[in-house]
Symmetry: C2
Subunit: 380 residues, 2 copies
């Protein structure tokens, strides 16, 4: 019997957030049950996860050619069917990039609790997602450590924040010059100093585009103007973000940098659960928490994201899509690290934006941006 267990579907179960979500479930088997798993191409790992967690539902990209991955009994569903299934309480959206948008909306329209690790869908379609969530009484529970921190700091507060202060590790290059950034290799960019993450978000952390996307994400999640959200470099990643209130009081949330904590908080909310696997801060080892102001000239992606967030409409969707493709080009060694910002900026400059776009217009803007990056990169 599983009475009282939260039934979880993990979309993107073989990625970094997906695997850590399963670690949380593994540590707290009396509280959570995996009823659905969805993954992309890593079918070997997915097969192992199916054996261990015995989900009722599975979704994978190659499902048409392979009827079943393992001997376990399960039903094959599409991402959207899984995200909206009545057997599911909480949907963890841990797929990266554009692929998260459609199942996120399906889960929201089914009134689910949506533990959202995919920031691109909120950035591109924040207005639609938050409106649909309200209409359908679905809760969007942030999984990003920064947004989880803000959410925890806002807990119990009855008035809006006056300012959100997003902390940023600054990535591996936060003390580099522009000239040094020009020569950055893929290997250097993938070496994040404090967080273990997927490659897309690791590169976004190195360009600070990740922090820019998080500003737009925070804007939608917490209904606060872009201009009331600031960024503070904090290389140790212990303070995960802060909230300033109208009386000048500031609340911060801190922990060792470990994504399992914000994942677990989103799954267990409003309860907090003891999990012996989660590390605790050892204050005798912390002599100082350090801060720097971000350098917008060295990290133009941050500036681009803030500008796109302010202009709104289809700009954030174009920002997201152009960045996603530019990062792919960098990872496949076809452009330089500094070309990521250059390409994104060129695409944003050429974009003819639509205000208050429909979902179709957002998807069209996304397609257009990807096309444009390809053209620009091949000199088209």
């Amino acid at each position: 019997m599983n009475h009282g267990k939260k039934r979880i579907a993990v979309l993107g179960s073989t990625g970094s957030i997906g695997q850590q979500t399963l670690e949380v479930v593994r540590a707290l088997p009396d509280r959570f049950q995996v009823v659905g798993l969805a993954a992309g191409k890593n079918t070997a790992l997915l097969a192992r996860q199916i054996k261990e967690f015995k989900p009722e539902f599975v979704c994978y990209q190659e499902q048409k050619t392979q009827a079943h991955l393992t001997d376990n009994e399960y039903e094959l569903l599409s991402l959207e069917e899984l995200a909206s299934h009545t057997r599911v309480d909480t949907v963890v959206i841990a797929t990266a990039g554009k692929a998260g948008l459609s199942p996120t909306l399906a889960a929201i329209r089914a009134g689910k609790d949506v533990a959202l690790a995919n920031k691109e869908s909120l950035v591109a379609a924040g207005e639609i997602i938050t409106r649909e969530a309200k209409l359908n009484s679905a809760r969007i529970l942030p999984v990003d450590s920064e947004h989880s921190a803000i959410w925890q700091c806002l807990r119990g507060e009855t008035q809006p924040a006056s300012q959100l202060i997003l902390t940023a590790s600054g990535g591996p290059f936060h003390q580099c010059s522009l000239a040094q950034l020009n020569e950055v290799t893929v290997e250097q960019a993938l070496k994040h100093p404090s967080w273990q993450m997927g490659s897309k978000v690791t590169i976004d952390s190195a360009t600070l585009m990740n922090k820019g996307l998080e500003i737009i994400e925070a804007h939608w999640l917490f209904d606060i103007p872009i201009d009331n959200i600031s960024v503070l470099i904090h290389p140790q990643s212990i303070i995960h973000s802060m909230v300033e209130f109208i009386d000048g009081s500031v609340k911060a949330q801190l922990s060792c940098p470990d994504m399992r904590l914000p994942i677990q908080y989103a799954l267990s909310y409003p309860e907090r659960l003891a999990n012996p696997q989660l590390p605790r801060i050892d204050w005798s080892n912390i002599k100082a928490l350090k801060f720097e102001s971000p350098d917008f000239d060295i990290f133009p992606c941050l500036k681009l994201a803030i500008a796109a967030g302010r202009k709104a409409g289809t700009y954030p969707a174009v920002l997201c899509a152009a960045d996603e493709l530019a990062v792919e080009l960098f990872l496949s060694r076809r452009i330089k690290f500094t070309d990521i910002a250059r390409l994104v900026e060129q695409v944003l400059d050429k974009h003819k934006a639509i205000a208050n776009p429909t979902l179709e217009e957002i998807i069209a803007a996304d397609d257009w941006a990807r096309e444009k990056v390809s053209q620009l990169n091949t000199g088209g």
Copy 2:
């Protein structure tokens, strides 16, 4: 008409906390109204406060000899009458030491909101005060910056904290040796690096007795075992305290060191109010927040307080009273700085404690402790 204004009585209005409470009221005249003022010997300042705030009720030590301090119309009341008057919504207990206990209990028994800056009454009689508050639906709203921080961090949380981390500036001597402490002058001890406070609490901050008393205070305010409360030296006094939850997540409250914020928060709770006079943290000026572990051998008062808190009964009352008198002796240059801890320890050692004491037994223990300090100091 004063509909909607909170009616405040300030007990100890001429002291540091009292004056800062009146600054908050002065800054927010649409929200707060001073209906009562009580002070000790500083009748000149009290007279000016009466002229400015026009309270309905006044209480002062010398009232029997002087019928009225000013031409304003007001009624003379005792501390207890003022603290429990039906015209009063919130009672600010800003009197130092033993004098706070009786009006605190009067306010609680009248079911008031009690903004409590007097830590000695909670330390000495925490069990009685918290029990009476529950019985009479009175709220105890902490004014100490550390307890206000913890209270803010616990806001909206539905489960108990797993650990409270009280930050301490460490006072002026946090990097001194025992030999150096032996030679400390009154002037050096009164120079606090980050806070402007009354002389008793400033000396208690220099010995770290203040932090020890705050541990016992936090124990009663937040119903958490003494052993789950730790102390972290943070000389900048920007993080005012932290709370660790069972999942390992930590919340901290930060602000510029300015007592008007916790005072205002206690007065306005559950609302937060914009007050242009309250400073805001300028993150571009903060390169690091620094921490040290406290040295229990250099600051034995901290150890004494924790031990007294653990043993409970009348021990905390004896700790408080012995410390109060020892600090007076130091301020009047009759004992050395390091004698404060020595005297308190000797008195605690000689004390025959009573478990679950009545108010009378607490007052008797207090009297005994003062007598004992005098005897010990005069070689009796």
